[in-house]
Each structure stands twice: as structure tokens, then as C-alpha cells.
Amino acid sequence: MERGAAAEVLRGVRAGVPVAVGYVPMAMAFGVLATQTGLSFFQAGAMSFFVYAGASQFASLGLLAGGASALAIVLATLVLNFRHFLMSVALSRRLPLRQGSDHRARIAPLVLGFGITDETFVVASIEERLTLRYFFGLIVTVYLAWLSGTLVGAGFSSLIPPVIARGMGVALYAMFIAILVPGVKKSWVNGLVAVAGGLLAWGASVLIPGIPSGWRIVIAILVASAFGAMLGSADETGLEQGEAA
């Protein structure tokens, strides 16, 4: 049993490696920019340790530099992170969380919820054998990558040459594509929804100049998924089965 548990965590860790590769250069860039904006090493680190939301962290630096108040920055963060609420709702149908009053059943949703990012959401929700231990391994791996990247960036500088860092910047896109392809092979509707999502996100950025990336994603998720729901159900295996159980 214990060996099986460790193997599950390790499976999640492996799934987290491509995400970690993509997070490190971004986190270093955040660390560098944070100290340039006037945050101390510890403040920059605390931001990644406690807040742990890439887009909002970058946005907060821009707002700070522009002289915004703490309250305005907190509100902007709330608005920018609404997409994670949607993702958590979707994930709550897939994660096999136990109902219970014991310690573990109470703590698990808090720990796992903290680890939800755009990247961990898509990786986990497309994984067919999604277990709590797998998700735990995944989120710990990418969290440590984000945190350590921030500390290195804030403490030293972006150690990675710009050409390599930009190259590593493609990692997350390549990972998104690599997990999208099997889904499209399973059902063409999944691919159609993804294309609709991309076009909506692009359309939103053209029609509403300066729209935050978080809201492009919210619009794409709500509208493109509704379009998909008219054509069928994404994964009979995951969602519907989990519902019947």
C-alpha cells in the first residue's frame, strides 16, 4: 500500500516536470522585477510563497510601480483570479475527495486548492487516473519550481541567458499542446472547443484592448465550453462516472 502511494505521488511529480521547466524562467523574471520594483528579497519570496499566482504577482508589481494602493492591488488580484474559481469548481467534480470529519479529509481540500494554477488544472483534469496523491505530487513539484525560481531571481539575477530563457518560455505552450493532442484524438469535439477557446481569447484581446489575460481565459472557458456542451460531453469516463459514484 505504501509503495503504491509513493508511486502515485511520483507519477504526479513526473507530470509536473514540464510545468516546472516552464515556471523557472518566469519565476526568475518575477524575482528580478520584484527587487527592481523595490521589494526586499523576503517580500519577493513571500509573494511566491503565500500568494503563488504568476499573473497577479506580475500585475501587482506593475500597479505598485504605478503608485496604486494595497487595497486596489488586492481587488485587482481578486478579479484576475476569478478563473481559478471556475477551474476549482470543474476540478471538484474530478478529484476523489472524501467527505469526512477526520483531520485529513478536512486538510486535503485546502492543500490541494492552494496548488490550483492554470497549468496544474489542465494537467490534472485531462489525466484519466486522477488521484489525490497524483495531484499532490504535481502541485508540490511546480510550487517548489516557482518558489525556488523566485528566490534565485530575487537573490542573484536571472541566471539563465535571455535566448535560453525565451526558449524555456515555450515550454508551457508545448506542454499545453502535448496534453491537448491526446484529448483531440479521443474526441474531435474537444479540439473544436479548444480552437473556439483560442479564437475567443484572441477576439477578446482585439475587441477589448488591455483586457487582463485572466479575463480572456474566463470568457473563453465560459463560452467555448457552453458550445461544447451543446455537442456532447467532454469525457464520459471522468466526469459522468465520477458523478454516478
Binding site: P18, V21, G22, Q43, M47, V51, Y52, S56, L64, A70, V74, T77, L78, F82, H84, F85, M87, S88, V89, A90, L91, S92, R93, L97, Q99, P109, G113, F114, D118, V122, V163, R166, G167, M168, V170, A171, Y173, A174, F176, I177, L180, V181, G183, K185, N190, G191, A196, G197, G198, L199, A201, I217, A220, A224, S225, A229, A234, L239, E240, E243
Partner: protein, 101 residues
Amino acid sequence: MIWLMIAGMCLVTFIPRALPLVLGRSLMLPRWVRRWLSFFPYAALGSLIFPGILTVVGGRPWIGLAAGGCAALLALKARNAIFPVLAAIAVAVGLQLATAG
């Protein structure tokens, strides 16, 4: 001021992420909502890939497209995402060096 801001950002980031998991499946949802939710990951993927992939290397959108295309081809065969990812990084670095200056 900064520490207060960090504490506030922590709360407004954590609550929306954790709340649905805390409520868990005690929430009974109609079938059409479940179907809708089931497509969220694919819709999210589309919006995360495009148009962002065009901006990997500023001013040279085709580098992101080439690296992404390479990842897509490899993903047809590979079982793990790491090979398409490493190949895409190699393509992106290589194309930048080949077309520099």
C-alpha cells in the same frame, strides 16, 4: 504596506481556489452544468495556447508557432509531455540563434 498587500493577495487568491474543493461534491449540479464543466479544461487549453504562443519571442511569432508545431507532431507519438517540451525548447533556442542579427 507591502506585507499587508501580500496578506490580502494571499486571501483573495486562496479562497476562490479552495472553496469549491471544500464544498466538494456535496453540491448537486444538473446534468447540463456537468457537461459544461467537463469542457473547461479544453477551453482553457485553447485560450492558454493562443494567442500567447505568438509572443514567445517578441516580434517573431513564427518561432513560437514552429516550436508548437513540433510539439504537436511529437505529442502524436510520445506518451509523456516531457519529450515534446524539450524538443520545442530546442527548436525555439535554435531558431533564435539561427536568425539572430
